[in-house]
């Protein structure tokens, strides 16, 4: 039998939730615009370590590594193109990584994470609002991080044209990790 901890007690207890993410319940996707048309994609393979205590969010941490070659897009042509040198250059830069530097509370269950995103060998400061929700035995952080693809040289040469592929890309993260670690 499982012992249910009352929520009030749980919130009052300074427990740190630190664990590798439950990848089956996690998703890293992105949305961009091509000629004003919204196009969605994602990364099938990534790993994440998230540590977040709602009582002390400022000591929380997130470290996410994405396999750039696992990109998924609406067509196989687009996937093949995305791995090329002009885009992710997945051969030379097989991973992208986000490491948080600070997490701040921004209201009930709302937070703002700031950190460094390294993509195609380029590191930039990025920031994203996110929410924390408990779903059964899992804690789920979910948010959208706007990034400039050109800041990371994603889409070089002719592809720098933002009329065809917009510069802003919304990285959508939904990372689930065990609510308690014992």
């Amino acid at each position: 039998m499982r012992v249910l901890i009352p929520t009030a007690l749980l919130l009052a207890t300074p427990l740190a939730f630190a664990a590798p993410a439950d990848l089956a319940q996690s998703r890293i996707g992105f949305a961009m615009k091509q000629l004003g048309t919204p196009v969605d994609g994602g990364f099938k393979s990534f790993s994440a370590n998230v540590e977040l205590n709602p009582a002390k969010p400022e000591v929380g941490k997130a470290d996410i590594t994405i396999q750039t070659g696992s990109i998924s897009l609406p067509t196989r042509d687009a996937e093949a193109e995305a791995k090329k040198k002009e885009w992710f250059n997945a051969g030379q830069f097989p991973t992208a990584r986000f490491v948080s530097s600070s997490i701040k509370s921004a209201g009930p269950n709302r937070y703002q994470v700031t950190g460094k995103l390294t993509l195609k060998g380029i590191t930039r400061d990025v920031s994203a609002p996110f929410t924390l929700k408990q779903q059964g035995a899992l804690n789920v952080v979910e948010g959208v991080m706007p990034v400039s693809r050109l800041a990371f040289k994603i889409g070089e040469g002719d592809w720098t044209d933002t009329g065809t592929v917009a510069d802003e890309v919304q990285i959508k993260f939904h990372v689930a990790f065990p609510a308690t670690t014992k």
Binding site: Q34, L35, G36, T37, P38, V39, D40, P74, T75, D77, A78, E81, D158, W159, D161, G163, T164, V165
Partner: protein
């Protein structure tokens, strides 16, 4: 030469506008189908979709026009069989003008890429993303396009036959200018 009645002016304008859109849309489709991915290809795909959706919207207007202003009678010199063939041909052209853009739209939805008309008006996805179905719809779209190309070529050839061989003035039904008498 007898002077047959012409189609209503809006019907004539729509006919030629749609003809132009179909020719350009077909040419674009043919061009982009062999191209590697590039910003140019993205633009051509966008224009191709917008042309197709335009044809679909104008088709609706043309059908309304058909109801408001019935087509002028075919020349009495045409045999009943020829008249039947003409009506069947026109019906096939209308069916293809519906089926070609519709399969293109379906194909785009199946690929998981929405159609945003002129980059401004998002159209609903007709079906959920389904890659194997998208490939099948692409084949159907291409086959229907070649069928439409054949139908349009036949339509034009028969029109020229009426004009240059039968000399029955049939072409003036679709002329923006009054025939000289």
């Amino acid at each position: 030469m007898n002077r047959p009645e012409r189609y209503a002016t809006p019907s004539i304008l729509l006919h030629w506008l749609v003809a132009l859109l179909i020719v350009v849309g077909f040419g674009l489709g043919l061009t982009l189908s062999g191209m590697p991915l590039s910003p140019t290809k993205f633009k051509l795909i966008g224009w191709h979709k917008w042309l197709g959706i335009s044809v679909l919207a104008l088709l609706a207007l043309r059908l309304v026009g058909r109801l408001l202003w019935p087509a002028p009678a075919l020349p009495g010199t045409m045999s009943p069989l020829a008249q039947l063939a003409a009506k069947g041909g026109h019906l096939a052209l209308y069916a293809l003008m519906l089926a070609v853009p519709l399969t293109g739209w379906l194909m785009s939805s199946a690929y998981g890429i929405p159609v945003v008309y002129l980059g401004l008006i998002p159209l609903p996805d007709l079906i959920a993303a389904n890659e194997p179905l998208a490939h099948q719809l692409k084949d159907v779209h291409e086959l229907l396009n070649w069928t439409l190309a054949l139908a349009v070529a036949g339509h034009a050839l028969v029109a020229f036959k009426h004009h240059f061989i039968d000399r029955d003035g049939l072409l003036f039904r679709m002329s923006l200018k009054q025939p000289r008498t």
